[in-house]
Amino acid sequence: MSHATTVRDIPTPAPAAPKPGLSSRSLPRLAPLGFAVAAIVLGVGLGLAAGWQSRVQWGLISALFFLVISYVTTSVVENRRQARDRLATSLVWVCFLLAVVPLASLLWTTVSRGSERLDGYFLTHSMAGVLGPEASGGVYHALIGTLEQVGIATLISAPLGLLTAVYLVEYGKGALARAVTFFVDVMTGIPSIVAGLFILSIMLIAGLEPSGLMGALALSILMIPVVVRSTEEMLKLVPNELREASLALGIPKWRTILKVVLPTAIGGIATGVMLAVARIAGETAPIILLVFGSQLINTNPFEGAQSSLPFYIYEQYKIGEAASYDRAWAAALVLIAFVMILNLVARGIARWKAPKAGR
């Protein structure tokens, strides 16, 4: 039978493999969710069966199962190309989850443990006369310290960084600009303890006392390169056509920069400064060296020891009592909230100042 069929087929040239239609078998839209559930069940099952303790291990096994299941199922049901596509998508998802899980866990732990102690009393009282094991005391002195030190550091760094970036983008050329760029890059990598030691050596040479100002100086060493870099990028984004349009109106270069270039970039610049503030708000090393730490409220950043939020966390953790752990978590929550509020403010400014295209 089959022989006859073959013979009959010979005269007509075998038609080229029929072109597949545009539609083919495909998995339902929610299939990845199914794969994920199956992978988790398998991962947990395997973990329980093998008696592994670590949940992290379970998670990683499940992630691996997820990749394998989605690739194999798709290549069977659909085709190789779809399978590779699915594999890439799944990898992106897995990596995203791997990145987000620690972050969410950190945030959850800080919020749940920090909120136990965080209240009005905690925010408005210092640690004056509070012994380690006592469940009272607060973060007020550290909050004041952080606000003042970071504030002074910003007052120093924002103008310096902004003007340096303006120089680099608008004026700088040749060896000097290259040198400035190089040193800014090097400064970005300075460890905070080195910045602290640098100011400490100056402090010792000049015979100065530890104070909030000294800490702020070290923080501004860390902050300036960040501000320069972000501002530089923002200024480079301003189209050259705007500069030329302004110059062609007979507007001097400095006014062009002040009235056209900077206003166009101000949203991005503000965001950059706020991110730099967020970065230095968590620095501990320079504070330990230069501000010394204190249990008392000292609102004068120019004289005497102060505290700061990261230093306070470190100090409370070191005490090692249940009450002090609670205070450390609460202070960590305050610090995270501080940085988050700054970020929101920066976003608000960026949105408010962004060039509008409305009609």
Binding site: K173, E244, S246, L247, A248, L249, V260, T264, K356, R359
Partner: protein, 258 residues
Amino acid sequence: MAKRIDVSGLSAYYGSHKAIDDISMTVEPRSVTAFIGPSGCGKSTFLRTLNRMHEVTPGGRVEGKVLLDDENLYGAGVDPVAVRRTVGMVFQRPNPFPTMSIFDNVAAGLRLNGSYRKSALNDIVEKSLRGANLWNEVKDRLNKPGSGLSGGQQQRLCIARAIAVEPDVLLMDEPCSALDPISTLAIEDLVGELKERFTIVIVTHNMQQAARVSDRTAFFNLAAVGKPGKLIEIDETERIFSNPSVQATEDYISGRFG
């Protein structure tokens, strides 16, 4: 107001690369002079030397003389900022300032130069917008951002911005190349009106446009890619388009180029 431009022996460089070579020509006041020629032949570069915008480009350098009614723009002690107040410019792509309203865009030149009377500002803005045939379209939304206008309106806004500082000469670098035919027509009509008050130089790739708007036409060409551009000839537009004296001009205009 309108001034005559006398260029003699002008060469412009980008670093060590010579972009245009030894150009001499006269641009008559109260007339429209069009520059035509293939891409890369130095029309725009030459235009930018006329208000000292060429030196804004890194490595930009100019040799030769540009006389604006007997005053050399490249003479010792001449302030490029003062030159640019006298010789205004409109660019290829509309570029209103995105942070400013329509009103502020037009007022920008005066405000940022610091040379204006507050009471006169409203009048100047209205006069400039009327001069650019834009007043009726925007008079109800002067406080809205300039970037919200259509492309053709934005370009007319840029022209209003340029004429608000009352220059003597207006340079236009392919002002219609990013616009549709209707907006192009609006700008061409505008050029015809503006030449009553200004000396206008316009770079264009559109030969019909050169024929429509200009009184005199200059043809630029370059010997080969990488060679500096040269002025081939400048004459009455009618002569250039009917009976040019150089064969290369005729070849270019009739499309038999290269």
